[in-house]
Assembly symmetry: C2
Homo-oligomer: 461 residues x 2
């Protein structure tokens, strides 16, 4: 496996529909291995692999992974060749332009890649440019396409930048190539630390660059031109610290903190993840990948099927209410923007965002506090979930504690909406559950909904 000779795109299509020319290959080779491995992982999480929501999850995960790592089966040569166009330079004057020396930049390409340290997708905003040489330019979309070939592999930001740079240099043979990547990696708290660290930052961000030819020297003037062209698009390089080669690995899974609640990691699950990596065409013994199966399993175990009491323990106390809206003789109390982290049971991919909770109470009565609300949200978040069920479960659990009139809104970004061939980067999902008076009284609903401010999802690019 590994490299096929053709450059076909395998677009994710779920539910048994074929995924393009190499669909057969997927079904017979890589796909089967991944599906079996995913069944082992689900079993290790204490899940019933035959329940309705999970039954096709192994198939869906296999297809998503094959699609997300299609770069292993693509060749830059096929993309760039035939998209090189002769373009006259400036022959009779002193200067650079056209096919000779005039900088060409494509900015703000949204991509995603897979972190080789933990197997989670990470987002990439890519800026790529080159200085033409030999009166030859490349079709602009090819800068995006070539970047995507290397993004769709197990990656690390600096290597991704270097590989794109080097591939474009070889393909276009320009005076130089420059790449700047703004990478954003999801940073889940584990189920233990989430209760201790209320200011947990949901993202890790790094900025990396790579340059060839005239860009090889990081202090070359041509880099100033490049930065200027980014700057007046609102990207201020002066304010950003570029990552140094000596900096620690960026992946949060490398920080080493593991919840003591998780216990020893199952060797069977680790072997299953290693078999997935191998079936993608990678070498699980490559230095950077050796610890990956173990890190992935440790992370996954945050979402194991577990019981309620363990987590609510110690949090059953009252507290102050953040927001109040007068509503007839009662007040709408609300707790807005409670962060949550969860794992989509259809694709084994993270989704995360905020929960807004409202409830109707007689004047002054306030039975529970923010910590309890938070722990209920976290309890239902840290498992294999779908957003609709998460919303309902939070509402149903709160209802007896809060007098029955409850509204819950969950807003989330789903990793499965940016990976898997969907690639809807800016999209977000909202779900509502309404109980008691909120289900019958549109004015009560509207009063609560209007009290929600307009933030962007925290840390979102």
């Amino acid at each position: 496996m590994g490299c096929l000779d053709d450059g076909h795109f395998a677009v994710e299509i779920e539910n048994g529909v074929s995924i393009g020319h190499d669909g057969v290959l997927l079904g017979n080779e890589g796909g089967g291995v991944i599906e079996d491995a995913v069944k082992i992982l689900l079993d290790g999480l204490g899940e019933d692999v035959n329940r309705e929501g999970l039954r096709k999850t192994p198939l869906r995960v296999a297809k998503a992974l094959r699609e997300g790592t299609r770069g292993y089966r693509q060749k830059v040569k096929d993309i760039v060749q035939g998209a090189l166009f002769p373009e006259a330079g400036l022959e009779n004057r002193v200067g650079y332009a056209g096919g000779t020396g005039g900088l060409v930049i494509v900015r703000d390409l949204d991509l995603f890649s897979y972190c080789e340290s933990c197997l989670l997708p990470f987002q990439v905003k890519c800026h790529v440019g080159y200085v033409p040489s030999g009166e030859r330019v490349v079709g602009l979309s090819k800068l995006s396409r070539v970047t995507d070939v290397f993004a769709k592999r197990l990656q690390e930001p600096q290597r991704l930048a270097d590989e794109v740079c080097s591939a474009l240099h070889q393909g276009i043979k320009p005076a130089g190539v420059a790449t700047i990547l703004q990478c954003t990696h999801i940073h889940f708290p584990d189920i233990e630390s989430v209760f201790l660290d209320s200011n947990h930052q949901g993202w890790v961000k790094v900025l990396v660059s790579s340059g060839s030819g005239v860009f090889e020297n990081k202090t070359a003037d041509v880099w100033d031109d490049f930065f200027s062209l980014l700057k007046f698009r609102g990207i201020d390089m002066d304010k950003i610290h570029f990552r140094e080669p000596s900096d620690q690995c960026w992946c949060p899974s490398q920080s080493g903190k593991v919840s003591s609640k998780i216990g020893p990691v199952s060797p069977v699950m680790i072997t299953a993840v290693a078999s997935i990596i191998k079936s993608l065409g990678e070498d699980p013994l490559r230095e950077e990948l050796i610890g990956t199966p173990s890190r992935f399993v440790k992370w996954l175990m945050n979402f194991q099927n577990s019981n309620f009491d363990m987590k609510l323990n110690g949090f059953l106390c009252g507290g102050s209410v953040n927001e109040e809206v007068n509503f007839n003789n009662k007040k709408i109390s609300s707790e807005l923007n409670i962060p949550f982290w969860s794992q989509c049971e259809h694709h084994l991919l993270p989704f995360h965002g905020v929960t807004h909770i409202g409830y109707l109470m007689s004047d002054g009565f306030n039975p529970i506090g923010k910590p309890l609300l938070q722990s209920i949200v976290h309890f239902y978040g840290f498992k294999l979930q779908v957003q609709e069920r998460l919303t309902r479960q939070i509402a149903e659990t709160l209802s007896p504690l809060l007098g029955g009139d409850v509204i819950v809104v969950v807003e989330a970004s789903h990793t499965c909406m940016i990976s898997r061939g969907i690639e809807k980067f800016g999209s977000s999902t909202a779900t509502i559950a309404v109980l008691g008076r909120f289900s019958t009284d549109p004015i009560a609903r509207a009063s609560f909904l209007q009290s929600i401010p307009s933030p962007t999802l925290s840390g979102q690019q």
Copy 2:
């Protein structure tokens, strides 16, 4: 042709690489017809269809059009079936949630579609939601996928909203479906009016909605919930005028103004465009499509190969300089944000943006005015182009008029970067040409580049 039974995605890949399972079909049936038609159009524009940049344009256009209208060959049933999941509702309480009655919304889906009035792509920001019923929810990504099936056809905003709404209603069988589309259509001036209307708005925008079931009544309370969920994502529906059925067709090509310079439209070209529409599986005699070939050709003729004198006529006068930056004993004069419109010769798709021009002059000397700069930009814009060449040609033309020290920056959004399977919605391209002192003096370059403010491309979503 028309509807195939499978739902395969045909992803655009250029330069002779196959495009998926129906690649053969493309080559033998639809593709050949479109390629022949595109050759006729290029010929009608006075172009040499064998010159290097255009040689593969017919093939590229055929593939892009087939990819951009793949919705004709997809079935919603294949996408939704098997992605319906049982999800318990709230059985023992008064309320709505989970699989029963709790609103589910996906916001900010970026798509593009093709305008049936003029065949140009238009951008769509889609918000779609439904109220589950029967304890059944649909995979979130399917809302995006089904929308895309109808977007990838020749469309009109209201029909697109209605078709998506109706297809999701049939597929999910929910209590109701709601769609809101923010559509943005490029609005080119023609080569005549661009000189007269310096405030030309580059976009036409409309907002449409459609609702089924509980959303059928536009004043239903559930619409308020829907709007609230959009509002706190920064989308303020109160400020937006929804399009009424009685409103005029939104497509700017329907306004009827045609440059007198273009002359009678070639029947051969019109027949060629009609054959393209037919080969996509559409009926060129459908009422809304009857005038489309003629409108497309009229628009295309703005980009015919033409001579210089005609356009510069009347504009060779001096004028004031907008910006000045002191630079040693000379001054860098600059004219920033001159809009331009052009047509990508590789894909016959529009690109547009702004040009920044800087030149070095002795104190007080100012040979030409903004009108001349604008007409030179427009002259090189209104033809089949590539951005690199456009930048160089503007610089070369200005050099003898401005004393030889010239810098030109072109910033553009390329329609070919959002359609054709690339779909990089936020991306933009920048090119530089430098002549004389600007090519040798990095401080001069930096002084000019730093003087460019940070606008977003005008009118951009």
